[in-house]
Symmetry: C2
Subunit: 246 residues, 2 copies
């Protein structure tokens, strides 16, 4: 056998293997990965850095996880588990859906790295947590009065809105963090660049002036709520139409 030098047959081996920690496991790996991502962001996640945090070598992780891509799928499904989907009994459907949307948004803002991997993992292939949440959320729309063939469309629509909106918020916030500037300065800078490169942007400028001086974080919350309300209004219109046809 021409490959590999024998590893050191040292007396330390015993100690290395007898760890006080509950040993490596997929759960532990995923949990630590979430922590690493929250603390240092997506570009800090490497098999080596994760292994180090777990007191293990990089390649040891592969006993519990097929690849980095699979790890990311697991990690994303893990945080989907944090979403809270009310069971909707008793409360009006708008309230339940609003709570649910807010919870999804809060989860993404709590774990902004989700934004940068969503395009890769998609939504379909995700694990048990997302599946469970979808089933529960679907129940909200059924209860609201959408027929079977339409409830899933209504649901995807709302999820798409929440994700699209929040991902762009998260990306903006991460740019803000990277830039090291205050939100004020950053917004000013972006506006200046836009006006220099394009020139003559009366409408964008009008919006900017109107927002100047307001609390940006509150503006984001309100913007999110505004769109969601419009959306729910539209769904209500549809529900009314369905009801009157019957």
């Amino acid at each position: 056998m021409p490959t590999g030098k024998p590893a050191v047959p040292s007396v330390w081996a015993r100690q290395r293997h007898k760890r006080e920690q509950p040993a490596l496991s997929q759960d532990r790996i995923v949990a630590e990965a979430v922590r690493l991502l929250d603390e240092e962001g997506i570009e800090a996640l490497s098999m080596r850095s994760l292994g180090t945090r777990l007191g293990a070598g990089a390649t040891s992780l592969y006993r519990h996880v097929a690849s980095k891509d699979e790890l990311i799928e697991l990690v994303v499904d893990e945080v989907y588990g944090e979403m809270e989907v009310p069971d909707g009994s008793g409360a009006p459907w708008r309230e339940s859906v609003t709570a649910c949307a807010g919870s999804l948004r809060a989860m993404i803002l709590r774990h902004p790295w989700v934004a940068s991997v969503l395009g890769q993992v998609g939504l379909a292939e995700l694990g048990p947590n997302l599946t469970r949440q979808s089933e529960r959320m679907l129940a909200l729309f059924h209860r609201a009065g959408f027929p079977a063939g339409e409830a899933d469309r209504a649901m995807s629509t709302v999820i798409a809105y929440v994700i699209g909106m929040t991902v762009s918020e998260a990306a903006y916030l991460s740019m803000l963090a990277r830039s090291g500037q205050s939100e004020q300065e950053l917004a000013e800078g972006l506006r200046r660049i836009a006006e220099e490169t394009v020139r003559d942007l009366p409408l964008l400028r009008e919006g900017y002036d109107q927002r100047a001086g307001e609390d940006p974080s509150r503006l984001r919350d309100e913007g999110f709520a505004y769109g969601l309300e419009r959306f729910l209004d539209g769904l209500q219109v549809r529900l009314d139409a369905l009801g009157s046809h019957r």
Copy 2:
């Protein structure tokens, strides 16, 4: 100077530099990057591979582009330029916005790699093309009757929906392409996995059964249109309320 060995002072140098192609330039680099991404996807884009396609060394690109990240921003802004935003004079606002949304969706499906970088580049920091398109699109909402402080919210809302919806479509399609299965088989497989891991998913199953046998591509188009219609209905409700207050 202790660094570097002198490069070969060869007679070929002259030929290397006298290229029939119009030399390297940022435009040429960005255009070729788009082509590479369309043909081979995001993971095939490396500075080396792109350099090769341009008949240049990897590091030569850095004379025209600050980093790979900047290249990606440029590339994304480039494809935003493909969007068609009607100027809205004459047509009802719903039609204009629908056309606009459809054009954005078509652009992303034409360049599915956009989905996998949107979380990184966000929407705010983007270049002249996105800025111009935003201004034009904003005009549609002004014309529809939204006041200055609300038109931009309505616009972001619609964009968020379109992007969220289309990114998840694109991710699904890329999974489909990678899997090598037929869409039928893939859907079946996903459903089986979901039911095995979670069990008891009556609502999701109901939706699945209802969709079985339909043309998946048409279903996607319809799903997108359905959500957009609900959205526009909601915006119309808001417009009516604004009108009656006046």
